[in-house]
Amino acid sequence: MPEALSIRTAAESSPAAATAATAAPREIKVTARDVNVSYGEKQALFDVDVDIAARSVMAFIGPSGCGKSTFLRCINRMNDTIPICRVTGRIEVDGRDIYDPEIDVVQLRARVGMVFQKPNPFPKSIYENVAYGPRLHGMATNKAELDAIVEESLRRASLWKEVSDRLEQPGTGLSGGQQQRLCIARAIAVSPEIILMDEPCSALDPIATARIEELIDELTENFTIIIVTHSMQQAARVSQRTAFFHLGRLIEEGPTEQIFSNPKDRRTQDYITGRFG
């Protein structure tokens, strides 16, 4: 509840937060140091170090199998659900190690929301999809409060106009783009601080993609967004900073314009100019 309040006040006070993120003294939200991940015998990530600024968009790019999704899933410990996955190193959110045994993984995931590659609404009504998280965390004490949260979340996901008259219909009956925005609404309903997006537009057509990208832009006012994408244009369009992964290593990280116009590493240059991948 206090988190939700703080975010709402932030939304009212700082419409220019998105641009502020690129300014020099960055407020660091996520810090990763020496992160190594292996699935059984196979190591998927090697010594990843990265800092991610609050209320900005960080894009992870790289060829398939380079470990960018793996790293993303480390940030809300989604990899815990894979029994053979082993994570070492240190990942901090707001300066606290999230792999600390004292950290409750469920609370962590409430703070670090996630949007998946394929839209995956619950097989329930639109209302229930959004209300599930808040209800789970006791964020509303009565129906009116819950209604308010649902409405605000749907508005922020710019879905309210389309679905306000059919909240009781199944979420699975929406179009692909609408489903993905519903998933975003569901993620922001619990007022997370960070939203992880794992190729959120790869299953969508260009128009739906454009809407999601607009939405990401708006969400930057309140949330830290980390997005994995295969589309370099998308990374260039939505992100302030970009990290390039290759063969399990973080090759290069920096402001998006610099990565795309003047990459330091030859492999980054080869990738963004389409020489491989």
Partner: protein
Amino acid sequence: MTDLAVSRPVTAKPALDVSSDAAKARIRARYRAERRFRFYGIAALVVTTLFLAMLLVDIVSKGLPVFKAHSLVLDVAVTQDAIDPAGKRDAATIRAADLAPVMRDALKSAVPGPLGRLGDRTLVRLLSIGAADDLVADLLRNPALIGSTIRTRLLLSDDADIYLKAKGAVTSRRGDGTITPDAKSGAVAIAASGPAFAVDLARIKAVMVERARVLETEAARLDRSGGAAVSDKVADLRREAAELLGRARDPAGEETLDTRLPSLLLSINGGLVKVEKLKADSAVGTALLPLSAASASSDWSVVTYATPAGDRKITDLEIALLEHLRATGKVEAHFNTRFFTSGDSREPELAGIRGALSGTAWTMLVTLVLCVPIGVLAAIYLEEFAPKNRWTDIVEVNINNLAAVPSIVFGLLGLAVFLNFFDLPRSAPLVGGLVLALLVLPTIIIASRAALKSVPPSIKEAALGVGASHQQAVFHHVLPSAVPGIMTGTIIGMAHALGETAPLLLIGMVAFIVDVPQAITDASTVLPVQVYLWSDLPEPAFQEKTAGAIIVMLMFLFVMNAAAIMLRRRFERRW
């Protein structure tokens, strides 16, 4: 990109020629294979459908008559002397009263008499032992009826009932000319004015020729297969056939009608004479129903009971009485409510499936209450929470093995554990339900696991992503999505349990139990065991009951499946 392409060695591939003869032959072979496969599929379907249809037609045609029963509707004079001489009018007196005399009197007045001692005994035997049940119930409900004449329904015996249900057993031919009986009852000789019985005599002879042919065939079959051991039997058969043919060859010769030939009766002067010796112009026989006069009559007919007396359970006299009662409108066919309201009985006409139905219901209840929670929770644990190690592997393999264990083994287990060790009551639905629960659990666990596994993992991830715990994700999202599949598995398992007989035999649910069980600890039996018990009994009426019970069991299954499908549809629509 280009440098990569250059570095790769280029090997020359043979070109694919789609117009060559070999290619065309390949295409033709592919089409042939496809057509062949379709044919196999259709053939398999046709064969299965045929067998299913045969099964259904057989069971339904055998079992449908069970839903009908025949009773006599008679005016019974319930005199105070016979029932309640002391005038107490209480239930105990009415229950203890012997209603046989009043029923016999009512019966006697319904047929022409006097019939003699044998006739009277036969008459009473037409009625079921439980014939008075309805009458007693009426009297209990209203004791004031004692002393009056009540029109009531008296249930017929199983043999009479079966006879009345059979169609075309009796044929009748109007006679020509005048015939004269010489007595009203007892032995009767009948003289005709001309060859009045020539047609019947010819018919009897034709039957004899047919029978001789059957005997010859039988003798030939025995001769081929039997060898020396059956040579006497073969000779006997041949002799009998030759004798029959010899008699049949003499068209005017007198015939003695024995129990291996159809029964011929003459209906004359309101009575019925069973013919024992027949010539073209005269007959000798016994009066089954007394004649009103020993005078010449031109209004007569020949009645034939085609089935020889030796091949049926019911005598000519019984048929004569039943036909008379039927002709006078005393026989009534009605829905056999008793089949659904009474328990088992040694008398087929009194036996019902109520006991077995209740036993089945109690047993299924116990099974369901145990199986669904245990099975589903076990499946959830194994699928979602159990660590994957050797221990859980062993558990998994053994659950799969348990599903294939012969059901009788579960019966032995139930006998050893529930009866001998835990000392639970024998023949009780409680134990039956426990045993069937063991039997069904593997099915439910396997089906539930499959259903849980088929829920896309993205649903669970989504729930985890908004901060649900693993358990919350499973119970809030994975389980509800798997419910239709789990229900299908449960229904399949329960249907399996519903038809299970073998394990129940071992825990004593195979006993002859007349009372309808009222609780899970009462001795009882279940539908399939009842079918098994009845199918073993010699009375033909029980064969009918067997088929009837099977029909009820199948209806049960259909209803269960229909309910399952409807529930599933509802659940799926809520998504």
